[in-house]
């Protein structure tokens, strides 16, 4: 990576972080929406821990994993919305008129997303501590949670970028939120897959990659170090990231036609 490229990526990452931190309406749901859902689910679904085969007595420890996925979903929407607004306002063209390399344009944005993803993971870890979630993997596990949280936010955000580049409309990107959110509910977010007895739901949750991301986070909270769950979690995150980057590359070629 050349020094010029590092400077460009750094400058755009800094701008991406500043832009998000200075928009309270973007930060508010990232923190409060998962927190509220966690508290509601933990109080309403606590009885689920009494089911035979439920892996823990603490529903909060079980459900905290979903907060990281919800946070990543918000990253997707915020990143896509910010990029689409850049396209709408012409800021994208301003960037394209500089000697900025194509890879730096999206790279800078995504490095900022990764940094924010790490930050929001820290927030969710602290939230978990406040509401009584026990992180069985300890301090090292918290670091892994932060890395996986950042990676997941990054992977999801690439799809926000694709939507922005393809549509050039912030409204269209925001319209995708319910669609992506459905994936969370069709996963093992509320119950372990082994306890999903409705056949179609069990099948959907098994094929849904979100289940494996949730189970990656969850394993650190309730099992300590579960290599299989972690490998699957990281595997899905990296797979989604690669798939997203491939799609971003194609969308970028269409959107950025500069010679």
């Amino acid at each position: 990576m050349s020094p010029a490229l590092i400077t460009q990526v750094g400058a755009l990452a800094q701008r991406s972080v500043l832009k998000t931190l200075r928009q309270p309406f973007q930060m508010f749901p990232i923190v409060f929406f998962p927190a509220i859902l966690l508290i509601i689910n933990a109080s309403g679904l606590h009885a689920a821990t009494l089911l035979p085969g439920f892996p823990t007595h603490s529903y909060v420890s079980f459900a905290i994993a979903v907060a990281f996925i919800q946070g990543a979903m918000f990253s997707l929407i915020n990143t896509g919305t910010n990029l689409a607004e850049d396209i709408e306002t012409g800021f994208f063209n301003r960037l394209a008129l500089t000697p900025l390399r194509r890879v730096a344009l999206i790279g800078g944005l995504l490095v900022g997303v990764a940094a924010l993803g790490a930050l929001q993971s820290v927030v969710y870890i602290l939230l978990g501590i406040v509401v009584g979630a026990h992180l069985d993997a300890g301090f090292a596990g918290a670091l892994v949670v932060i890395v996986l949280g950042s990676l997941t936010a990054l992977a999801f955000s690439t799809f926000g970028c694709v939507a922005a580049l393809r549509t050039g409309s912030s409204e269209a990107v925001q319209g995708l939120f319910p669609l992506f959110f459905v994936f969370i509910f069709l996963s093992s977010s509320n119950l372990p897959r082994s306890l999903l007895k409705t056949p179609w739901f069990h099948t959907v949750a098994t094929w849904n990659p979100i289940s494996y991301l949730i189970e990656g986070f969850r394993s650190l909270y309730i099992f300590g170090w579960d290599e299989t769950a972690l490998l699957r979690g990281f595997g899905v995150a990296i797979g989604l990231l690669l798939l997203g980057l491939l799609a971003v590359q194609g969308a970028m070629k269409t959107r950025l036609q500069r010679t």
Partner: protein, 344 residues
């Protein structure tokens, strides 16, 4: 001077098609000399902005060629971007960043060394009068401040050519005048300026030469004076104080030229010898004891040029009007042909 040091623009047979068979630019040829302010004038949808996008390398042409600063816009895109600055339609700014942060970002992307970034940013913000607002978020800037910041950003890397697309749209007369002064100063420093506008007065006041584009084709090109001279002489229009004196007034004016179109209660003639006859006309009216309610000299405008070349008036012709306390605020006045009231 080597080819790469040429600050001009050369365009030959430039075509740009969009999906659905829409031809936005239809084979235009133009040349802009180094250090020249070239006004690219036309109504909305005429192909002005598409041409700007091609020349700034943001859009490849469908056919034809374009060289900017001696560099081919298709083959040498990155090199072209290093020598041009551009302020494209609307102020493309991030409302959540401050003016200083914009300058830092832009200078980083242009590869300025870290110590130079702050100094260059401060220098340019001072140049466009934004020093005091430098640390305020751009979301709170007025339209004029945004446009000035936009211009400052385009100048960060000391470009040899500057593309300005509708730079004064939405600006108040004072901001417009300030921006025009800045453009003149840059041209005085040797920067070539490609100014896209739909405002006649802007092109007339700023441009050394004007190209008028309509439906993707250049329909007229030359200095504003040449273009106006080519379509006719000035005319004088008088409105009698007493409508019953209209015929007598027409007879007096007929001594000075052929009748021309006038308002329903007025009389107009074209002046074959130019505005020099005006004093004689006033004396002749006075000698006949005629009283006039209004007397106006109409000089041909670029709108008249557009009308002559296309058969219709240019959209937004009234636009901003000339800068200064008297101009630009009265849209209705500006939609009339440029007229200078002489007496009433």
């Amino acid at each position: 001077m080597s080819e790469n040091l040429n600050n001009g623009i050369e365009v030959e047979g430039l075509v740009r098609d969009f999906k659905g068979g829409v031809r936005a630019v239809d084979g235009i040829d133009l040349r802009v000399a180094p250090g020249e302010i070239y006004g690219f004038l036309g109504p909305n949808g005429a192909g002005k902005s598409t041409t700007s996008l091609v020349l700034t390398t943001l859009l490849p042409p469908t056919a034809g060629s374009a060289r900017v600063a001696g560099l081919d816009v298709v083959r040498n895109g990155p090199e072209v971007r290093r020598v041009i600055g551009a302020s494209l339609q609307d102020s493309a700014l991030d409302p959540f960043l401050t003016g200083s942060e914009h300058m830092r970002l832009q200078s980083s992307l242009h590869g300025l060394a870290r110590p130079q970034r702050e100094a260059r940013g401060r220098e340019l913000l001072a140049q466009v009068g934004l020093t005091e607002a430098a640390d305020r978020k751009v979301g709170g800037y007025s339209g004029g401040m945004k446009r000035r910041l936009d211009l400052a950003l385009a100048l960060v890397h000391r470009p040899r050519l500057l593309f300005l697309d509708e730079p004064t749209t939405g600006l108040d007369p004072q901001s417009r005048a300030a921006l025009w002064d800045e453009v003149r100063r840059l041209a005085g420093d040797g920067v070539t300026v490609f100014l896209t506008t739909q405002y006649l007065e802007e092109a007339d006041a700023l441009a050394d030469r004007v190209g008028i584009i309509d439906h993707g084709r250049i329909v007229a090109e030359g200095t504003p004076a040449e273009l106006k001279a080519a379509i006719g002489r000035p005319s004088v229009e008088a409105v009698p104080h007493d409508p019953g004196e209209r015929e007598r007034l027409a007879a007096v004016l007929a001594r000075f030229g052929e009748a021309a179109a006038a308002a329903s209660n007025g009389v107009a003639v074209q002046l074959p010898r130019g505005a020099g006859d005006l004093a004689e006309i006033v004396r002749a009216i006075d000698a006949e004891n005629l009283q006039v309610a209004d007397l106006r000299l109409h000089s041909p405008t670029l709108d008249d040029v557009f009308l002559a070349k296309t058969g219709r008036s240019l959209e937004g012709a009234g636009g901003p009007g000339p800068p200064g306390p008297a101009g630009g605020e009265d849209d209705d006045k500006d939609k009339r042909p440029t007229g200078q009231p002489i007496s009433a």
